[in-house]
């Protein structure tokens, strides 16, 4: 079918070939491609650290690497995946490429700022790399104080700077999207005709603009306390260690929606396209994105139920946490209803969409366990949590990203991928994912805490299952690289 398509003679891919024509471009499509390359590198770097993690955990003794090295592995894994892969992934690549054409605009509102956001991500990555090669960081991606300010003797300050700078990349992207969606819609493109992909990005952008500055400032406070000895978080100097957690999660909880909302937008497009129907309940789906973005800001303290917050505060935050579950459930039901009486076909993107629904459902439902106060006391900081957020972020967000990437790949590159191998990789990812992370729910309820480089013997079988599954998952993620470069 693709051969029949007419590609214009001059398009963004052949419009100038020199390095400068790319690095100085203001074309949102070229910028998207550069983002695609950058975050792919990040993804495989983060994946390398994951391999290290799973190798270490294959045996209970912790004999593959030293404790310190392991701690740096999971810190680097988390930081790279969260700040340098997941947060930019769908918005910066697919959003950048697709939002202007979807609303009938030529480009984003601020093309230069768009290029600047890419450079900011790179600068952030340079600082992070400096921190990494000069010895790494061992605080975990959450940087909890007072360990990060006084306890750790790793390179926290350059890493904090890197994340601070990368944060501005995210803020600027969000700002650009908001202005573009408000001001640059083609005549007749009313709000309620916007593709749901655009709605999802609009909601995401609100979080990016409102939330990211908070984490940026918080991270700076950590750096200042470390470098200059201020007593913001360190109780020995009169600070409050729990204050950090409030500030951190005030951003980082909504941040998980920065990762998942765009994927939900992709899903709405894929499911309606491949069942050849309009989405069921357009406005419910559109508003549920906004509801998730708004509620996301008022549930942060559910990460702190055992951090000494008062019993009543815990009750309020538990109650509110359930409010996020409702719009998420609504989405799943509406997608299911969209399939009803459709004309469904199972090309690669739809396989990812099906896989997404399964993983997102499990990830979301296990969120209920964690929002339930009496139960979270036991589950907090165990592998149950690790599994839960991987189901959402890796299972959900990456399935969305991969599905979307396959769907729009021909549009972005003018080439088709191998349908056969891509289907295999979609299936491998789904199977490998469940093999990797389902055992972690079980080992978490058994009580295995997270961030352990060694563990009591009785947890071994489940950890071996997880490590074995990870190799299948890794293969699934890697296969598309071979099949798209091999053609």
């Amino acid at each position: 079918m693709l051969d029949k398509l007419k590609i214009p003679e001059r398009h963004y891919l052949n419009n100038g070939h020199g390095l400068a024509s790319w690095l100085l471009t203001k074309d949102h499509k070229r910028i998207a491609i550069m983002y695609l390359i950058s975050i792919s590198v990040m993804f495989f770097l983060g994946g390398l650290f994951a391999v290290g993690i799973r190798l270490e955990l294959a045996t209970p003794q912790g004999d593959f690497v030293q404790a310190d090295t392991y701690n740096k592995f999971f810190t680097m894994h988390g930081i790279i995946m969260v700040f340098f892969f997941l947060i930019p992934s769908i918005p910066a690549v697919l959003g950048n490429f697709l939002i202007p054409p979807m609303i009938g605009a030529k480009d984003l509102a601020f093309p230069r700022i768009n290029l600047l956001s890419l450079y900011l991500l790179w600068f952030g990555a340079i600082f992070a790399t400096v921190a990494m090669v000069s010895g790494g960081v061992d605080t975990g991606w959450t940087f909890y104080t007072p360990y990060s300010t006084t306890g750790s003797n790793s390179h926290v300050v350059p890493m904090a700077l890197g994340i601070f700078i990368a944060g501005f990349s995210s803020i600027l992207t969000g700002l650009n999207f908001i202005v573009t969606i408000h001001r640059m819609r083609a005549p007749g493109m009313t709000w309620f005709r916007l593709p749901l992909f655009v709605w999802a990005h609009y909601a995401t952008s609100l979080i990016q603009v409102l939330g990211t500055p908070v984490v940026a400032i918080t991270i700076v406070m950590v750096g200042v306390e470390r470098a200059l000895g201020f007593g913001i978080f360190d109780p020995a100097r009169g600070g409050d260690p729990v204050l950090f957690q409030h500030l951190f999660w005030f951003y980082s909880h909504p941040a998980v929606y920065i990762m998942i909302l765009p994927a939900l937008g992709v899903m709405s497009e894929l499911i309606s396209t491949f069942s050849r129907k309009t989405i069921f309940g357009y406005s419910f789906v559109a508003f549920s994105s906004l509801a998730i973005a708004v509620f996301g800001f008022i549930v942060w303290a559910h990460h702190m139920f055992v951090a000494g917050i008062s019993t009543y505060a815990a009750m309020v935050f538990s109650f509110l946490s359930f409010s996020v579950a409702i719009p998420s459930a609504v989405k799943v039901f509406n997608w299911t209803a969209t399939l009803y009486k459709g004309a469904i076909s199972f090309e690669t993107p739809m396989l990812y969409a099906y896989g997404f629904m399964g993983l997102f459902a499990i990830g979301g439902l296990t969120g209920l366990f964690l929002a339930t106060l009496g139960l979270d006391i036991h589950l907090h900081d165990t592998y149950f949590v690790v599994s839960h957020f991987h189901y959402i972020m890796v299972g959900g967000a990456i399935m969305g990203y991969m599905g979307g990437l396959h769907f729009w790949w021909p549009k972005m590159t003018g080439r088709m991928y191998s349908e056969f191998f891509s289907r295999i990789s979609a299936i491998l990812v789904f199977v490998g994912f469940n093999l990797t992370f389902f055992p972690q729910f079980v080992v978490g309820y058994l009580g295995m805490p997270r961030r352990y480089h060694s563990y009591p013997d009785e947890f071994q079988v489940l950890n071996v299952m997880s490590s074995a599954g990870a190799s299948v998952l890794g293969l699934g993620y890697f296969l598309p690289v071979i099949t798209c470069c091999g053609r």
């Binding site: 306890g151 260690p241 209920l368 106060l373 009496g374």
Partner: protein, 330 residues
């Protein structure tokens, strides 16, 4: 519990365990119901409405408001049930009964130190009697830690500068894991220990054995003299500091006119940051003991002061006290 030799379910060794597990199974059941229902629908539609020929399109269905409201409201109701049930279990978990036996725990990179009122001190080991509620007051000497007893289904963070607490009623004699659940640096995974639940008689025997240096309060009394607290805090009340007799659990009036109830957090703050709350009628003369006293000795001192108030049943660790040191930096 094991299936094919793989453990899948932790020991149930406390009264909470079955409450928490009941909640767990309830939510599993609800989740499984919805997950399976959606999975069946999605797979069935995928087969039933499979596209069969080119150009085929799906039916035109825009939505259905009553249906959508229904599937917004039903999950809301179910979620509220979970919330209510979870909150009631939590309430129980957070409220130690007045008669609970009291133990102090201090987290320190990378070990757990426990002190019994009777004087025993343990590291990464904890002995307790079965069938009796136990309350543990927790603090930290350096960074955050989290005291976690999976078999009892409870945990609580250890926060430098504050007291937090947890309690449980261990029912089944045996040995169970103690973990640190909050990442605390290099040897976080090594910060583990064993809690031994003993028959009450056995526990009494254990208490008698082993060389002790007197009870915790007695150790505190010795500190009280060694640190020269006794030179100002005369029993008569005529010293430069207020008498410490019979103050625990009672309100005390401060210089700025406000009052506080004397609890562990207040005592801790008054020792470490003595200028923070000066008692009415006294000069802010007391030196700060920040950095001069370890968390363990602090606890002993507090126990000593509490022993001077024989009528106070408990002094709950309530309000967080700021400004306290990780004393005794290694």
């Amino acid at each position: 519990m094991k299936i094919f030799g793989i453990p899948i379910f932790p020991d149930q060794a406390s009264t909470f365990a079955k409450d928490v597990d009941a909640l767990y199974f309830f939510i599993i059941a609800v989740s499984a119901f919805f997950a399976i229902a959606v999975a069946i629908a999605v797979i069935y539609f995928g087969i039933r409405y499979r596209k069969t020929h080119d150009g085929e399109i799906g039916a035109r269905i825009e939505g259905n408001l009553p249906l959508e409201l229904l599937w917004s409201v039903i999950p809301t109701i179910i979620a509220m049930v979970m919330f209510g049930w979870g909150a009631s279990v939590y309430f129980h978990l957070r409220r130690p009964p007045a008669e609970a036996m009291h133990i102090y725990a201090v987290g320190k990179q990378w070990m757990w130190k426990f002190q019994h009122l009777e004087g025993q001190r343990e590291i990464n080991e904890l002995h307790i009697p079965a069938g009796r509620p136990v309350k543990i007051t927790i603090s930290s000497e350096d960074v955050l830690h989290s005291l976690f007893f999976p078999a009892f289904r409870t945990k609580m963070d250890a926060i430098p500068g504050r007291y937090t607490e947890l309690w449980f009623d261990a029912q089944t004699p045996g040995s169970y894991h103690i973990f640190c659940a909050e990442y605390c640096g290099t040897n976080h995974a090594g910060m583990i220990g064993t809690v031994t639940v003993m028959e009450p008689a056995q526990y009494q025997a254990w208490l008698q054995g082993g060389g002790m240096e007197g009870t915790l309060a007695q150790r505190g009394a010795k500190q009280f003299n060694d640190l020269a607290c006794s030179t100002c805090h005369l029993d008569s009340g005529q010293g430069r500091g207020p008498s410490l007799h019979d103050i625990v659990g009672k309100p005390v009036e401060l210089q700025d006119g406000s009052t506080v109830v004397v609890d562990e957090a207040y005592l801790r703050e008054s020792i470490l940051n003595s200028q923070a709350k000066v008692v009415k009628g006294f000069q802010p003369l007391m030196p700060t003991f920040q950095g001069l006293i370890s968390e363990e000795n602090l606890v002993a001192l507090i126990e000593h002061v509490k022993s001077l108030s024989p009528n106070a049943t408990t002094a709950p660790a309530t309000t967080p006290a700021p400004a306290a040191p990780p004393a005794e930096k290694k």
